[in-house]
């Protein structure tokens, strides 16, 4: 993903920002971000190199690496630490309590520090740094131990326990329960939070690592504008301002620096152009229905009267519907009573009742067939995308071979890489166009959409065909030009399709045949 690379270099180094225009997949247009309560982030992102053409389905987002996440936390903590004149550990506890909303924290703390501190689990008084103490006559309430030289510890609430018990307690919380930000004093009913400095003093180094990792995690999880990249082993987080209630208007696809593209709304893989809610419905339907629907389609008929689905599991053609007791003939679907004496041999195809019953049957099967139509195409693109991925892995070998055999340079064979990338993203989009189309009501917009879909599909299949040629054919300069043209064309068709769908989505122009709960896109015309 070339534009991702631009993006990455822009993130990692502040100066060399010269976006190359060769392959704009245009997903990660980096522009000025404007998040409400952020101190201006440290990355050199805010310079204006948003010279690329802005496409409507693009959304603003930013990738944060682990060090960025740490730095942001530290910056916020330092700021609160200075303004409120409390220790850094206390500032951190307060910030977590306010889900890192610094403005609200400061405002509330100015007004009613007492209540705020109490709610956050902070002591009012400030004492010295945490330390272990040996107090004569001390008995630990947890292990009931006493004795000379028993080391004990207490946070500011003064509930004092021996160091051993404290350690057991903390390691149980951290390791056993995955708790970090809200570990409270072990005393019954004491809500005071144990700060990170006390914790570092008490537990073994291997546990502090885990503890700080968990703390870091809460930063991302506490903030609605941040989400972890779901790719395996990726430690980055993405910041994006799209809110939950906007998800019926926009499909917020983001691309992590690790190359993974996903939806910020639902964390699933990129599913443009279908909005999250349709995706959820579709996946559920597929999980529930697909195999079943295929089987039903092949093996059952419906009762002509009540439409119950019936499997004929042997026996004669005289069917009695279990549900409505309607008696009919399995062969002609006509009334059984009209069969008269010619029982068990149906030769009555021309009869009126049978024809009507079969028509009704055909109509009710349409919805099933309709679903299968979309599902099969959806599944096909999903599978093809997987196959393309295999080919992508072979591409590299191909490129090396090509370099050797045709004397082309590395840069000259990059077109294969671009073609493979284009195939992947376009198929991903195509796949979801079928899920999207399944829920679309028929109207002019839908026709335009289907034309766009068809254009993209034809282009993708053509490119896919060229891409599979062997190395000798690929080295033909004519084919190379064709592939490059086709790649560009595919990307263009995809953008056109997404632009169209995104614009209509944003303005609530689509009519869906299902109710979307979150508002304006809800449809009034139920077609089926």
């Amino acid at each position: 993903m070339d534009s991702d690379d631009d993006f990455m270099s822009a993130v990692s180094s502040e100066d060399d920002v010269l976006p190359d225009d060769s392959e704009n997949e245009d997903m990660s247009d980096a522009e000025d971000f404007d998040f409400d309560d952020e101190p201006d982030p440290d990355l050199g992102m805010s310079k204006d190199f948003g010279v690329k053409k802005k496409v409507p389905f693009d959304i603003n987002f930013k990738v944060f690496h682990p060090s960025d996440i740490q730095k942001q936390q530290d910056d916020l903590i330092n700021e609160v630490n200075m303004i409120l004149d409390i220790s850094k550990e206390e500032a951190a506890i307060l910030l977590r309590h306010f889900r890192w909303n610094k403005e609200r924290l400061l405002e509330d703390s100015m007004d009613k520090q007492r209540q705020v501190f109490e709610a956050a689990g902070l002591a009012q008084t400030s004492a010295g740094p945490p330390r272990l103490e040996t107090i004569p006559g001390f008995v630990c309430d947890i292990c009931c131990e006493e004795g000379e030289g028993l080391q004990s510890f207490a946070i500011k609430c003064g509930h004092r326990y021996c160091v051993d018990c404290y350690r057991h307690y903390l390691s149980q919380k951290i390791r056993g329960e995955g708790e970090a930000a809200r570990i409270q004093c072990p005393a019954d009913g004491c809500n005071l939070i144990i700060d990170s400095r006390s914790l570092d003093l008490l537990v073994m180094p291997e546990l502090t690592g885990r503890y700080h990792e968990l703390l870091n995690r809460t930063y991302v999880e506490d903030k609605d504008t941040l989400k972890w990249c779901p790719a395996p082993d990726c430690q980055n987080a993405i910041e994006c301002g799209v809110k939950k209630k906007e998800l019926d208007k926009v499909v917020p696809t983001v691309a992590c620096d690790c190359g993974h593209r996903f939806c910020f709304g639902c964390i699933l893989n990129d599913h443009q152009p279908a909005p999250c809610e349709l995706v959820k419905k579709w996946l559920k339907k597929c999980a529930d229905d697909s195999e079943t629907a295929n089987w039903i389609s092949a093996n059952t008929k419906e009762c002509p009267k009540c439409n119950s689905t019936i499997e004929k599991n042997g026996g004669c053609n005289h069917m009695t519907c279990r549900k409505c007791k309607h008696e009919f003939c399995w062969m002609c679907m006509g009334l059984w009573s009209e069969h008269g004496t010619s029982w068990y041999s149906c030769n009555r195809f021309e009869e009126k009742s049978g024809t009507e019953a079969r028509d009704a049957q055909a109509r009710s099967r349409v919805s099933l067939e309709r679903y299968l139509h979309y599902y099969n195409r959806y599944a096909n693109h999903e599978q093809s995308a997987r196959l393309d991925k295999n080919i992508y892995q072979k591409t590299e070998t191909k490129m090396v071979q090509l370099q050797k055999e045709s004397g082309m340079s590395w840069i000259e064979v990059q077109y294969l890489n671009s073609a493979s990338q284009a195939l992947q993203t376009c198929r991903q989009t195509l796949m979801w166009t079928y899920a999207f189309a399944f829920y679309l009501a028929r109207n002019n917009l839908t026709e335009i959409f289907e034309d766009n879909q068809k254009d993209l599909e034809m282009a993708v299949e053509a490119l896919s065909g060229m891409f599979e040629k062997n190395v000798t054919e690929l080295s033909d300069p004519k084919l190379k030009v064709e592939i490059m043209d086709k790649t560009a064309y595919c990307n263009k068709r995809r953008i056109i399709l997404l632009e169209d769908t995104a614009a209509n989505l944003a303005e609530g122009r689509w009519t869906f045949n299902v109710e979307l709960t979150s508002g304006a896109a809800a449809s009034s015309s139920h077609r089926r």
């Binding site: 947890i142 292990c143 149980q172 056993g176 005393a187 019954d188 004491c190 073994m204």
Partner: protein, 157 residues
């Protein structure tokens, strides 16, 4: 760092010593033959008609992490020991009480304090009913009490 062997034993030994000396009224030790499983009887001291003249048997199970981890506490049913009726006590004896869960437990609690909490939980109750979904729960549940994710929805009873 799992608690050293004997951590729970030591503490339970001390608790037992104290229990042998004295227990609050309405609480009796039935057996404590090892440091894994104890049985105690509790009675309600006032005249709450729901629990009048009844004695209930409690089973305590301790892990080696006790008291950092809460004990597993259930009512057990015997011919003369019914399961008390209460909107937070299932008919198989499982108790839905936040202080017995990891979130509500404090290592400062002990067997005696748990018994007293249960006593007062019964004393304060006026509802002659089982938790919602009791039948289904009792039929379907195969989990140990500590693995059940109770939702403490009601703090009034």
């Amino acid at each position: 760092m799992p608690p050293a062997a004997g951590f729970a034993t030591k503490r339970l030994g001390k608790e037992l010593q104290k229990i042998h000396n004295s227990l609050p009224p309405g609480i009796d030790l039935v057996s404590a033959e090892n440091f894994e499983e104890w049985f105690l009887d509790i009675r309600v001291l006032d005249s709450n008609p729901l629990y009048k003249d009844q004695t209930y048997r409690l089973k305590f199970k301790f892990s080696s992490s006790y008291p950092i981890e809460p004990p597993e506490v259930v009512f057990v049913k015997l011919p003369d020991r019914p399961i008390p009726i209460h909107p937070h006590i299932y008919s198989n004896g499982i108790i839905c009480l936040d202080l017995l869960g990891q979130q509500g437990w404090s290592p400062v609690q002990n067997v005696e304090s748990v018994c007293m909490s249960l006593q007062s939980m019964l004393t304060g109750n006026t509802k002659d009913e089982r938790p919602p979904g009791d039948e289904d729960f009792v039929r379907a549940n195969r989990l140990r009490p500590k693995d059940i994710d109770f939702f403490y929805h009601d703090n009034n009873v």
